[in-house]
């Protein structure tokens, strides 16, 4: 049982407030036939996005990973708006996203090149650089970080993810008590 009082400026309380607000909004939007599988899936996606977004917003742009998450979410919603409305601007939007993917692939290629150089130097760092690749794919924005920043960002990312899970669990438990 936590005896912690909710500090209004803590990450946990900022996230909780934001996420709850988003949940209320999502719940208000639900149509009458709210238990069809499609509806449930759409709501699942909206909730998951709201959770990730709420956490990233609570961290603001102080962290590379939160900036990367917000950027990803914004560009995804921009693409969706473009495809639902104006068809003419889709081409320009898709080209922008392809360029960004190429940049990150180039980054990755550069990192792999560096890995082969490091292999000739230090035995220790071989495993590190290769496993860092796996980590880069899991941490938002990880592709463009150097190893030090990656490890630092990972630690913060894990702290935030555990807070996110903790709060979501609490909310789910309270909802299921009814």
């Amino acid at each position: 049982m936590d005896s912690q009082h909710l500090n209004p400026s803590s990450l946990k309380s900022r996230f909780t407030a934001r996420f709850l607000r988003a949940l209320i909004k999502i719940n208000a939007q639900k149509p009458i036939s709210s238990s069809s599988p499609r509806e449930i899936f759409q709501r699942y996606r909206r909730i998951k996005v709201a959770a990730d977004k709420s956490m990233a917003y609570s961290v603001r742009s102080r962290r590379t990973w939160s900036r990367a998450t917000l950027w990803k979410l914004r560009s995804r919603s921009r693409r969706r708006l473009a495809s639902s409305g104006r068809r003419s601007s889709i081409k320009t939007r898709t080209t922008t996203t392809t360029t960004t993917t190429t940049t990150s692939t180039n980054h990755r290629a550069a990192i792999v090149e560096k890995t082969s150089h490091e292999k000739e130097n230090k035995e220790d760092h071989v495993g590190l650089a290769v496993q860092a690749e796996e980590l880069r794919e899991l941490v938002p924005g990880g592709e463009s970080m150097d190893l030090c920043n990656l490890l630092d960002e990972t630690a913060h990312y894990i702290k935030c993810l555990t807070t996110q899970v903790q709060v979501m669990k609490k909310i789910a438990n309270l909802y299921s008590l009814e």
Binding site: L23, N27, L138, C148, D152, I158
Partner: protein, 93 residues
């Protein structure tokens, strides 16, 4: 880029940040439940990174499962008064 030049630059850079990396890796070790118990054992960097990846993946899965659960729960929740009660109890802790 000349191979020799970049190699020497890299070895000097990596020797400077070696301690930093060790510190950062041990910081990660403390965050991962699997490895926290083995605080006094020497856990290899490779193992820490592997467990970190596994832990992040399991956290992602938990978020997905909880989102799924919440979407089902929201479907069955109707009244606003229940919601207000939930919010109040959460924020008052």
């Amino acid at each position: 880029m000349s191979g020799r030049r970049s190699r020497s630059k890299q070895s000097s850079v990596s020797s400077i940040t070696d301690d930093q990396i060790t510190d950062l890796v041990s910081k990660l070790q403390h965050l991962i439940p699997e490895l926290r118990r083995r605080r006094f054992d020497k856990v290899s960097t490779s193992k820490v990174l592997q467990e970190t990846c596994n832990y992040i993946r399991s956290l992602h899965r938990e978020v997905e499962d909880l989102s799924d659960r919440l979407s089902q729960l929201l479907a069955s929740t109707d009244s606003d008064s229940d919601q207000a009660a939930i919010i109040r109890s959460l924020l008052m802790q």
